[in-house]
Amino acid sequence: MDDPLTIGGTKLHSRLVLGTGGATSLEVLERAILASGTEVVTVALRRVTDTGPGSLLDVTTRTGVHLLPNTAGCYTATEAVQVARLGREAFETDWIKLEVIADERTLYPDPVELLDAAEQLVDDGFTVLPYTNDDPILATRLAELGCAAVMPLGSPIGSGMGICNPYNLTIIREQVEVPVILDAGVGTASDAAIAMELGCDGVLLASAVTRARDPEAMATAMRHAVEAGRLARRAGRIPKRFYAQASTTDQGRPDLLGPDAPTAEA
């Protein structure tokens, strides 16, 4: 089934974006990237410590994935805009996963700084993918500013608590025209499937794979979960109902016991 996700004019055939944070080695990471089937991975920028050959970029080049630099660790719009510009220069991409956090304990986004940074980066020609609260109003504002997608959290980064407020995600999906990518909180495969069933266009996850006991196996599970959730969404689930509805007809049921058979009440 050809069902690509288009972000900023780029067609992606996998709806899973893999974060690279937390992998115990580059070998483990490479196997997870391949198993996940992803076409986009996130990277962060930090001061160089020259580790010589065998770098993260070798892994991303070998696996042929797009790079999505992030602004992890930024607390202000000014800093995030600077880091985004460094990312554009380093990786020759105008894609940026915009993170402007407010608080170390929750790692929740700072909505005021986030909007400010998003506006500056959109004006500067970036393809902005903001990590946002699961607030439909904020997500709408980000989309209206010209962000290429919105990426609401399911629960706090690295918490593995899944999707705490599915209703907000449903509202966000209804309200914005751009792709909605669930970002943060996925703990296991069913969380990713639920995100897609709710109508998300993609899922971004890192820790659930990189910190799993077997990252390669979990990456495979996530690939299937995202595909399954997407297919289920498109297929159209049955409505929930309170009472049973027999799937087998009563019509033509044979009378095997005759008229004198005891009834259930007897």
Partner: protein, 66 residues
């Protein structure tokens, strides 16, 4: 003449090109970005920009991150 590169202070005898300083930090310029006094400097300017007294330089590259 003191400069600061990635938070470390260095003494330079004479002004040098930024590109020389970057090559002292990394063996491969691929995936590297540089800011000079808070401004991101395009790669094409690295070898034509002189590092002046008191310059503050950040040299960054890719690390794993969500």
């Amino acid at each position: 003449m003191p400069i600061e590169i990635n938070g470390r202070t260095r003494e330079l005898e004479t002004p040098i090109m930024l590109g020389e300083l970057i090559d002292a930090e990394v063996t491969d310029r691929r995936g590297v970005a540089v800011s000079l006094n808070g401004e991101v400097l395009p790669r094409s300017d690295w070898d034509t920009t002189t590092v002046d007294d008191g310059a503050r330089i950040e040299v960054v590259g890719a690390v794993q991150g969500g």
